[in-house]
Amino acid sequence: MTQFLEVDNLIMRFGGLTAVDGLSFKVNHGEIHGLIGPNGAGKTTTFNMISGFYKPSGGQVRLRGETISGLRMHEVARRGVVRTFQHSTLFAEMTVMENALVGTHMPFRPNIFAAIIGWDRDDREGARARAREALEFFGLDHLRDEMAGELSHGHQRALGMAVAYASHPDVMLLDEPFTGMNPEETRRMMDLMCRLREDGITILIVEHDMQAIMGLCDNITCMSFGKFLAEGNPAEIRNHPAVIEAYLGGARHVA
């Protein structure tokens, strides 16, 4: 049986530095999979390789058996793997609604000739309906006409996810979605992610907030210094000696 999303011996070198060194893990369909590790472990680099932002120096990423590593970012996105960005990367000068409409680019591909003549009314309405659905899902519907750059930080993060969600993704890659959120916002966002999982969306998540990760993920991959360290469910990872050592330092370093 082919795996849904498979990272196979992925390598990324920046000059002399090997940021990711032979990383392999598998993500099952319909689960929330966490990718954790201390700062500089290469999590975001891994993300950038899966989403097509970087071209790996070696190894492969496969989606349903098809190699997607080395494709350009929009080609990866068109295969159903959509990412969010670490910081509030949004179209700050556009309204919330327009941000979400850009997210509907894939399901409602604009056609310039139809647009000039006016034959794309159905598509435009469909795109608006989908954009509004995505905004409602993340509780942003009332902010539709605000400028995205003027939203609060929590709302900006939610909008980043709404843009990704609007495109009907199969896999969402979330890069530190809880950064800068207060506990209340984090809890609400965790609920939304569980609902996304019920919708059949597979989520791969990089996060530092351990409470959120442990409460949310079905499986967790831990990496350190670019290498695979451990994998398992939250309980296993919490008690894994190698993980504890990576985060807190080994016993031999203590006094």
Partner: protein, 326 residues
């Protein structure tokens, strides 16, 4: 109903406009109409965030192409004008392969180099481009009659009416494109290309699309000019005119559709009519430059920000409502 009234009144004003002007002013009016198309098509390219310095040369590509089609191949002038635009658009697609490996400032310089290469090719090859002397004796538009009005293209008024009609259609198409999801995607490519790409937008394709549409309309504008003036040479499309296009866009502002048009109209009227009337013949470039510096200092968001202030729109939100609903 109110929109219809404005439309009718505006159309009547445009029809009546040349009758109150002198012959030389009528000629300026024709160029003004063509320049409006030039600067509006330029704005479509700036929607994606790229500023090109080859736009005027590409306008020239349309002019040369249309002139050669009529002279060498004997194609009917109206068709060759459209073919001139198509040629310019096609050339833009070809140019996009080397040019869109670059972004921002590098694209600016790269496009300048590409434009100069094209101009040098015109100068170098006497056949079919006519070398440094260019092409002379380009066929004028054939005269025709639409019943109520006889188009006689030795009269600038007739050519003004014709170009007004063509430019109006082109502007309408540009407007439709900007208001469409395609236009929204252009904005997205401009503001956050990484996020746009993550949403499945093919950046290279959309940049090329904007570049070729803008070039196509610039080509039509150039072709219209060629058949009006009757002679073109490489120096008709030099960097001087490009600087004018840039100043129209900057002084007018590029956040709205009408900004560059406003800049073009205001600066042309100022330069050609007001300053001439006041007798500043030799000093016109000096005063023109001064006006430009002053407008950048005191109106950094362009003339369009003045209009928005008068129309009572919220300041700071100078991006137009381009809700794709309509």
């Amino acid at each position: 109903m109110r929109n219809l009234a404005i439309f009718v009144l505006g159309g009547a004003a445009l029809l009546a406009l040349p009758h109150g002007l002198s012959f030389s002013q009528q000629e300026i009016l024709v160029f003004l109409t063509l320049n409006i198309l030039l600067v509006s098509s330029y704005r479509l390219l700036t929607l994606t965030g790229e500023w090109s310095l080859a736009h005027v040369v590409i306008m020239g590509v349309g002019a040369y192409a249309s002139a050669i089609y009529t002279k060498e191949l004997g194609i009917w002038v109206p068709v060759s004008i459209l073919l001139g635009g198509a040629t310019a658009a096609l050339l833009a697609v070809l140019l996009s392969f080397p040019l869109f490996r670059m972004k921002g400032f590098y694209f600016l310089i790269g496009s300048f180099a590409a434009g100069e290469i094209i101009r040098l090719l015109w100068k170098r090859f006497r056949d079919p481009f006519g070398g440094a002397k260019g092409i002379k004796g380009i066929d004028p538009m054939p005269d025709f009659s639409i019943g109520i009005y006889d188009f006689d293209f030795f009269e600038p008024i007739s050519y003004y009416y014709l170009s007004c009609a063509v430019v109006a259609v082109c502007l309408w198409i540009l407007w439709r494109i900007e208001r469409s999801p395609v236009g929204l995607t252009f904005h997205a490519v401009h503001w956050q290309d990484r996020l746009a790409e993550a949403s499945g937008v093919n950046l290279r394709a959309y940049r090329t699309l904007a570049f070729s549409i803008a070039s196509g309309f610039a080509g039509i504008s150039g072709a219209l000019m060629a058949h009006y003036v009757g002679t073109i040479n490489p120096n008709s499309f030099d960097v001087d005119l490009m600087v004018f296009v840039l100043t129209w866009a900057i002084v007018g502002g590029t956040a709205t559709f009408y900004g560059p048009i406003l800049g073009c109209v205001v600066l042309t009227v100022l330069n050609e009519i007001v300053l001439r009337e006041m007798g500043f013949e030799q000093m016109r470039p000096l005063i023109y430059g001064l006006i430009m510096i002053l407008s950048i200092l005191f109106l950094p968001k362009g003339l369009e920000s003045l209009v928005q202030k008068i129309a009572g729109k919220r300041p700071g939100k100078d991006t137009p409502e381009r809700s794709p609903a309509q």
